[in-house]
Symmetry: C2
Subunit: 361 residues, 2 copies
């Protein structure tokens, strides 16, 4: 099977082997040293010397943790959004009583730093800016560095959803002054789902002191006090910690610059490949995602039929469109454990499957 959705990604053998290891005491010496190693290695991938916590949850749980640890009901939140995941971040802020202002961009377009700057000038009461590094629903990567520059100049907290991007697309947590960065295990970290990770800056800790959104399971003050003794407050997904540790070893061995180059090379190969088949890209080509490519359903193409044909006849699993893009696009995931070989297979299979799914060009 060639699993090419935007996570879970296929896992390398070392990672699967780690998943199958027997349980140990999660409050004992051996697990303590594994958890400390995972945390140190995550800091390398995060490009931070600050705090990083491991949580047992999906990426969405990590997003909720980011919000409730830094904000209070009634706080002004500028939620930048140009797709499903930007909207999700905004919805979490709203669910916990934040005064959320949505700065919306057309789906498929990037978030513009200039517009963020203006919105912050228009409403000085805003406390935090939410940004999605890689908008997985549209195949667009946002310029976090530029958005951070205007947000931090205005003294705001910057909360970044890097769930699909971290470890695959350059994100310099410290250099770009990102206060909270969320990711999870089943994307760039090439592991099964079950763990999220969240970085937390000094300014985030300052905010935490007065943040009044209710929290218990996600409380980072508790997470910090347990981390100091090599533990998590609640029983962690031990196997997923084993797995992420094995994956991080591979990632650090390959080296972030080489991974980022590989991802960029593979994403070019995907974009050129689908265009050469007569297809059109959905996302703005000025800011293409290195990890997922969204393709328009043009020329009679039925994307749902395409997904079925690709799976049933060619054993390639692609993703459809989400929410308002349902039935209008299909998406090819190319993140984590991926090489040219799998993409060649996707493109060759697509070439055969397209006519069977109504595409007539």
């Amino acid at each position: 099977m060639n699993l090419r959705i935007p996570g879970p990604t296929p896992c390398p053998d070392q990672v699967l082997k780690a998943m199958g290891k027997q349980m140990i005491n999660h409050r004992g010496k051996e697990f303590r040293s594994i958890l400390e190693q995972v945390t140190q290695r995550l800091k390398i991938v995060y490009q931070t010397t600050g705090d990083v916590f491991v949580l047992t949850c999906s990426g969405t749980g990590g997003m909720e943790a980011a919000i409730v640890n830094t904000l209070s009901p009634g706080d002004g939140i500028l939620a930048t959004t140009s797709g499903a995941f930007g909207n999700r971040f905004a919805e979490i802020g709203e669910a916990f009583g934040g005064r959320v202002q949505r700065l919306q961009f057309e789906w498929g377009k990037p978030v513009e730093a200039e517009a963020v700057k203006k919105a912050l000038e228009d409403d000085p009461s805003i406390k935090a800016v939410l940004v999605t590094h890689n908008e997985t629903s549209t195949g667009v990567t946002n310029d976090v560095k530029a958005i951070s520059a205007v947000a931090k100049k205005a003294g705001k907290l910057l909360l970044v959803d890097a769930i699909s991007s971290l470890g695959s697309i350059d994100l310099q947590t410290d250099n770009w002054k990102c206060d909270v960065v969320v990711t999870c295990s089943q994307k760039g970290l090439m592991s099964p789902p079950g763990l999220a990770a969240v970085s937390f800056s000094e300014q985030a800790w300052q905010a935490q002191k007065t943040a009044k959104m209710p929290r218990y399971n996600w409380d980072f003050a508790k997470a910090r006090s347990f981390q100091q003794k090599g533990e998590t407050p609640w029983t962690p997904a031990v196997s997923a910690v084993y797995a992420v540790n094995a994956a991080l070893e591979m990632i650090i061995q390959e080296g972030l610059p080489r991974i980022f180059q590989r991802q960029a090379r593979i994403s070019r190969m995907v974009r050129e490949g689908v265009k050469s088949l007569g297809l059109e890209l959905f996302g703005d080509e000025k800011c293409p995602s290195d990890i997922i490519t969204a393709v328009k359903a043009t020329n009679g193409l039925d994307p749902k039929k395409l997904l079925n044909v690709m799976e049933d006849k060619y054993d390639v699993i692609l993703a459809g469109g989400q929410q308002k893009l349902d039935g209008k696009i299909f998406r090819i995931g190319h993140l984590g454990w991926v090489s040219e070989k799998e993409i060649e297979n996707v493109l060759a299979s697509l070439k055969k499957a397209l006519p069977e799914a109504g595409f007539n060009k």
Copy 2:
């Protein structure tokens, strides 16, 4: 290694093998059928025909989900507690703005249904009763049937923490009218940590409609709408779902009555064994836990030293005391995948280790 802490428990080979399986699309046909099977099998173990949801989190996340899906800030909550986990449930209620009244019993003693009845009569504004089925910190099992009888007669919601007990000690969700029952993967379900499960009654759904505690990640209205299409709202811990499914197959094959009998037999063996070594039990012997036994540190015994000697010399991992019992007891976990053989090893090792840890009787 003989891992005898109250979770994670050792996992059978079938479960570890399931953990090591490759990823599939969590929104595809194959996973859908696995998730539906897990849900149906969980209902058997829960002894319910109502809803059961699978969440990617620790047991504590499941407890938070139970609270925020049924209650509003200001709601009266009667939290029965006689140990660390009863206190945790109370703290979650408080963190989300509940008006929590603690009905406290001495650690090591059970929660008394009569006292619950009186507390509910004294404060008719109470909306929900929290109860810990098995208080893992003290080795005592509470009489949920009797507590439920008084709580339900008074028309209250009954939220049950069955994290360590479900699948090991009889808990009749429907017969005993438990509205919300929380468990997790690494106890009676013999799987690695990473998944919680929560049952939800009709009365719980009624409460959910007006419950105003903020929620997003834990929202069961979303969970239900995704469950209807065989999915979870957020990416689930796919491997843990594989694993729990394999474990549930074993559990259903053995049969709940036989498992409950095995657990009762093994716990008697533990209690008689430690007493024959001259040790005293901590928990009230009228309501002993079938899954964990707490033992007093008497006659010069240094329980921390004992844990070290047991691990380093005999490869047996036991647990210490929590919070106010730290340094005063040690605990032997005997839940999930356990047979007489492992307990014989624990007792034989204890006999040798006790004198090395200061015990002089």
